[in-house]
Symmetry: C2
Subunit: 202 residues, 2 copies
């Protein structure tokens, strides 16, 4: 098994952190997305959407999409559970994971792509849309701060994939100059807590 | 248990179709999103993101996010499996489900919101962004057509949540005047097949 990824990309970090939490060793192969290596035929054969990361299984088949790759390893090695336990537990973690994806991870990525024009050789940046996405981020950070006033981690008392997604989004948000406000003490407490896990350096 | 939803919304249809496939009876309570009922305090108490659908459990707690609600019922009643079986099977379905969400369901929704200005009383429509999203849809429909040349359903030989998400997106795409091309015969064959399931009318 091996994973094709780009070490600086936030989705790649999500998978590395997930595997580090489960102490699963992995071979990582770097794809240079800045140079457009992911747009070449070799990578399209692995994943027609051209995105990274992509997991190559030992039978030569591929799994792409960050959360699908995480799901594969959660099923192979359920301990420690990062996608939850029991019907309600799994649903609550998936709810928070998706809230964080749609209201933090994606707006941060959209703001980066559309405001900086980093990928303007392969997409049409629309600055007004990027700026709009940037405005949505602090609103959700305030909601996360309220949630974290009542729970140790984002989806409750157990560390989960929702924390991984939020940490990778928040750390990447520095490139668009968005950080938690000094008054968001619960969010800052959580950020220090999850950043101190060894997996955060994976 | 009951679900707060808006019958015409594509995410609401995804959940109704999922439950119909599992033959799970449900009480549905209508929320008038056009009138902004979801923005009121009563709905915010159920889901601070203001989105529908929201599942109310018998203990008075809430699960929001369409796929999290589906996950809850998949765990409660695994048959028929709509989120896959085994590590690889679950990962492949989640991969396709997310490909369909990010490359079809979301662009269709963004195009609708940003081009028509349907929710302009509560968001800033950016027409250029909506039009850009609209251009992405036919590109992904062509990819789906290629996939369906080799498999009965989107994620393989078994009907899954990926088919539900794609059907709800494709049918909703009529409001932005996007339909499969007449040459996309595999996509059209699939559309007729999944539309003929009783759950498509749920």
């Amino acid at each position: 098994m091996k994973i094709y990824e780009t070490s600086t990309a936030p989705n790649a970090r999500r998978v590395r952190m997930f595997l580090a939490e489960k102490a699963i060793d992995m071979e990582y192969v770097q794809i240079d997305i800045q140079a457009g290596e992911n747009l070449g035929e070799a990578h399209r054969q692995k994943n027609f959407t051209t995105k990274i990361p992509v997991l190559e299984l030992d039978d030569g088949s591929y799994i792409s999409e960050t959360v699908a790759i995480c799901r594969y390893f959660e099923e192979l090695q359920p301990q420690p559970p990062l996608l939850g336990s029991g019907a309600r537990g799994k649903a609550v973690i998936e709810m928070w994971q998706r809230r964080v994806e749609f209201n933090l991870f994606m707006p941060v990525g959209m703001c980066f792509q559309h405001v900086t024009g980093y990928f303007k050789d392969r997409m049409t940046p629309i600055k007004a849309w990027g700026e709009e996405c940037g405005k949505q981020v602090p609103v959700f950070l305030a909601a996360l701060d309220r949630q974290l006033a009542n729970s140790t981690f984002i989806a409750g008392e157990t560390f989960s994939i929702a924390d991984i997604t939020a940490l990778c989004a928040l750390d990447f948000a520095r490139v668009i100059k968005i950080r938690p406000g000094g008054e968001q003490t619960d969010l800052l407490r959580w950020h220090e807590l999850v950043s101190s896990r060894p997996s955060a350096k994976a």
